[in-house]
C-alpha cells in the first residue's frame, strides 16, 4: 500500500488563496489562544508545550518548551517573541505555504508563544523576497487587530501584544537567529557570539525567543487539542507532524505533511512526490535542506524523523528534501553549493569568509579540469577550521561538501585526473572573486 500524508498544519487548506479570519475561526482558530489567555498561566502553557514534545522546525530540532523556559522570569527588561520567517535554506519552501494560505495560524502561534514568555511585542521577520506573502501577512495582522486578537486587551483579557511584520532585504545569514536579531535591530545581519543566548540577551539585549514559522503554527492545535493529542503523533522522541518540501528531480514536487517516523524517505519520494523522471534513477538525496549531508540511493529506507536521519549520518534539518537523479555531476553540484555559501558569508570570521572562497576556487579548478592531485587533501585541511567561527555558516557548507566527496570520491578523483593541473592558480589575488562574479 502506498504511504500517505498526515495533515494537521495543512488540514483542509485551500491552496488558491489565504484563509481569512472568519473561516479560520469557524475551523476552531483562536480557540487555542482563548484557552491560554482565559484558563492557563504562562507557566502552564510552557508545560503543555514541553509535554507535547514539539521541537523547533527551523533546522535545529531543539525542544520548544525548553527553549521558552530559558527566558529569565525575574528580568526587569521587556521580553520579545520573534517569528523566524526568513526561509532561505536552499530546498526549503514550507513556511511560505503556511503564511500564504493560513496566515492566522502563524499569528495565533506568535500570540500563544508571546503570552507564554510574557512578551508584549511579537515580530515576524520575513525575508524580503517574499513581498507578496508579506502583504498577505500584513493584511491578516490588520484583521487580527480589528477583531481585538492583537493589540491591547486581547479577547477582552488583561493581556496585550503588538505584532509587527518586519521585512528583511536579501541575506541568507539573517535566518541564523542572532543574525536575524541584529538585522531586526536595523544593522547588517552579522551573527553574534553565543552565549549569551537570545533567551537571555536577544533583541535590544533583552530576553528573546526566536521560533520558526512552522513551530509557531503547531501551537494553536496543540493548545486546542491538548499536549497528549500532539504527543500521540510521531515517535518516542520525534513527536507530531512535519512539513516536507520535496524538490529537484521528482515528478510531483510539492510541500507534503507527514507523521514523523511513520514514513521512510524512500516512501516520501516514491509515493508522495511520484518518484524520479521516467527512465532515470535516484543518485542521491538531500534530506533536510542544503546544509544537511547528502544520502546515497541505498540509504533511503530510513524513517523520516530526527533520530533516524541523524543515525544515517545526516540531519532532518528543515525537512527539505532535494532529489538528485543520475544526470547530476557531483563536482559541479558541490561547486554550486559552495558558491552559494561564499556569497552569503557575512565576512566577520576569517575561516568562513576565506574558507568559502578557497573552497569555490578549488572546486571550480577541479570542475574546469585544472585540478591538482592534492586538491582533496587541501579541502580536508580547510575543513579542519569548521567550528572556528561565530555562527554555523561555514559548517553548513563543510557538512554537505564533505559528504559529497565521501560518498562520490571517484567523481572528484576522475575530474582531477582528467585535467591538466594549473600550478599558477593558487593564491592569485582576486581569482576566487572572479569566479563568484560569474
Amino acid at each position: 500500500m502506498a504511504a500517505s500524508e498526515t495533515r494537521v498544519l495543512l488540514k483542509d487548506l485551500d491552496l488558491t488563496g489565504p484563509r481569512d479570519l472568519d473561516s479560520y475561526r469557524r475551523m476552531g482558530g483562536y480557540q487555542g489562544l482563548a484557552k491560554c489567555l482565559r484558563q492557563f498561566t504562562p507557566d502552564r502553557v510552557i508545560d503543555e508545550v514541553k509535554q507535547s514534545g514539539l521541537r523547533g522546525r527551523g533546522g535545529a530540532g531543539f525542544p520548544t518548551g525548553v527553549k521558552w523556559g530559558f527566558v529569565p522570569k525575574t528580568s526587569p527588561k521587556p521580553k520579545y517573541l520573534v517569528c523566524n520567517a526568513d526561509e532561505g535554506e536552499p530546498g526549503t519552501c514550507k513556511d511560505r505555504v503556511l503564511m500564504q494560505y493560513n496566515p492566522h495560524s502563524v499569528i495565533e502561534g506568535c500570540l500563544i508563544a508571546a503570552y507564554a514568555i510574557a512578551a508584549h511585542h511579537a515580530f515576524i521577520y520575513i525575508r524580503g523576497e517574499f513581498s507578496e506573502i508579506a502583504e498577505i501577512l500584513e493584511r491578516a495582522v490588520q484583521e487580527a487587530y480589528r477583531a481585538h486578537l492583537a493589540g491591547t486587551n486581547i479577547l477582552g483579557t488583561q493581556y496585550s501584544c503588538e505584532i509587527i511584520v518586519y521585512r528583511g532585504a536579501g541575506a541568507y545569514i539573517c535566518g541564523e537567529e542572532s543574525g536575524l536579531l541584529t538585522s531586526l535591530e536595523g544593522k547588517r545581519g552579522n551573527p553574534r557570539n553565543k552565549p549569551p543566548f537570545p533567551a537571555v540577551e536577544g533583541l535590544y539585549r533583552a530576553p528573546t525567543v526566536v521560533n520558526n514559522v512552522e513551530t509557531l503554527a503547531c501551537l494553536p492545535s496543540i493548545m486546542r487539542n491538548g499536549a497528549a493529542w500532539y504527543a500521540s503523533l510521531g515517535t518516542e522522541k520525534s513527536k507530531g507532524t512535519k512539513l516536507v518540501p520535496v524538490s529537484g528531480h521528482v515528478r510531483k514536487p510539492g510541500v507534503y505533511e507527514i507523521e514523523l517516523g511513520k514514513i521512510t524517505l524512500r516512501e516520501i519520494i516514491a509515493d508522495l512526490a511520484r518518484g524520479v523522471r521516467e527512465g532515470h534513477t535516484i543518485k542521491a538525496v538531500i534530506p533536510g535542506g542544503s546544509s544537511s549531508p547528502i544520502l546515497s540511493a541505498d540509504q533511503l529506507d530510513v524513517p523520516f524523523d530526527y533520530e533516524s536521519v541523524a543515525a544515517a549520518g545526516s540531519m532532518l534539518g528543515s525537512g527539505a528534501i532535494v532529489v538528485l537523479d543520475n544526470t547530476v555531476d557531483m563536482v559541479e553540484f558541490a561547486l554550486r553549493l559552495a558558491k552559494f555559501y561564499a556569497h552569503e558569508s557575512c565576512g566577520q570570521c576569517t575561516p568562513c569568509r576565506e574558507g568559502t572562497r578557497w573552497l569555490v576556487e578549488i572546486l571550480n579548478a577541479i570542475h574546469e579540469g585544472r585540478g591538482h592531485p592534492d586538491d582533496l587533501e587541501t579541502i580536508q585541511k580547510l575543513f579542519e577550521t569548521e567550528l572556528t567561527s561565530i555562527c554555523l555558516l561555514w559548517s553548513a557548507v563543510v557538512m554537505p561538501v564533505r559528504a559529497l566527496i565521501e560518498k562520490f570520491p571517484e567523481e572528484f578523483r576522475t575530474a582531477i585526473a582528467r585535467g591538466t593541473p594549473d600550478f599558477s592558480r593558487m593564491g592569485q589575488p582576486g581569482s576566487p572573486v572572479s569566479v563568484l562574479a560569474e
Binding site: 519552501c93 523576497e129 507578496e132 532585504a169 541575506a171 547588517r188 535590544y204
Partner: protein, 156 residues
C-alpha cells in the same frame, strides 16, 4: 528628486513610531526611500541617517549588506532568476543563457533602453516551482524558454 520627508513624511513617521527602537527603522526606511526615489540615492541615505540617528557610513553599510537594495538605478523591469540547487538541476543554467541572449546583456546589466535589468539571485524559497524567477517581486515558476518568452512579451 523629492526627499523622503517631502514625499512620504507620514509613512516615515509611522515607521519610526511603530518600532520600539529608532535604529530598527533603518531597513523599513530604506524600503520607503527605494519606493519614493526609485533607487537609494546618496541623498536618501543621508536622510535616513538623520532620521534614525545612525551615521551615514553605517546606513550605507546596511544598504550594501542586503542584496535587494538598489544602490544604482535599475531598469523598469528587474528580472531575478534563481539558480540555486533545485533550480540549477532543473535547467536554470540554460534559462540564464537564454535570458542573456534574448536581452543582449550580461548579468548585473541594464538594457540600453532602460527596460530590463538582469540579475541572478540565490534561493528564492520557491523550490517546488523550480526553476523560478521574480520580476519586480512577482513570482514565476516552472519556467521554460517558451514560458520566459511569453512572460517577457506580456510586459508593456
Amino acid at each position: 528628486m523629492p526627499t523622503i520627508a517631502e514625499a512620504a513624511a507620514e509613512e516615515a513617521r509611522a515607521i519610526l513610531h511603530r518600532l520600539p527602537n529608532r535604529h530598527s527603522s533603518s531597513i523599513p526606511l530604506l524600503y520607503l526611500a527605494w519606493k519614493t526615489c526609485a533607487w537609494l540615492t546618496p541623498a536618501a541615505l543621508e536622510e535616513i541617517a538623520a532620521l534614525t540617528g545612525l551615521s551615514p557610513a553605517t546606513v550605507e553599510g546596511i544598504a550594501g549588506f542586503y542584496t535587494m537594495f538598489p544602490l544604482h538605478p535599475r531598469g523598469k523591469y528587474h528580472i531575478e532568476i534563481c539558480d540555486n540547487i533545485s533550480c540549477y538541476i532543473n535547467g536554470a543554467p540554460d534559462l540564464k543563457n537564454h535570458l542573456r541572449n534574448k536581452l543582449g546583456i550580461e548579468f548585473g546589466q541594464t538594457t540600453s533602453d532602460g527596460r530590463f535589468t538582469l540579475d541572478h539571485v540565490e534561493c528564492l524559497g520557491n523550490c517546488c516551482e523550480a526553476p523560478c524567477m521574480q520580476i519586480n517581486g512577482k513570482e514565476y515558476g516552472r519556467l521554460t524558454v517558451q514560458k520566459i518568452n511569453e512572460i517577457l512579451d506580456s510586459l508593456d
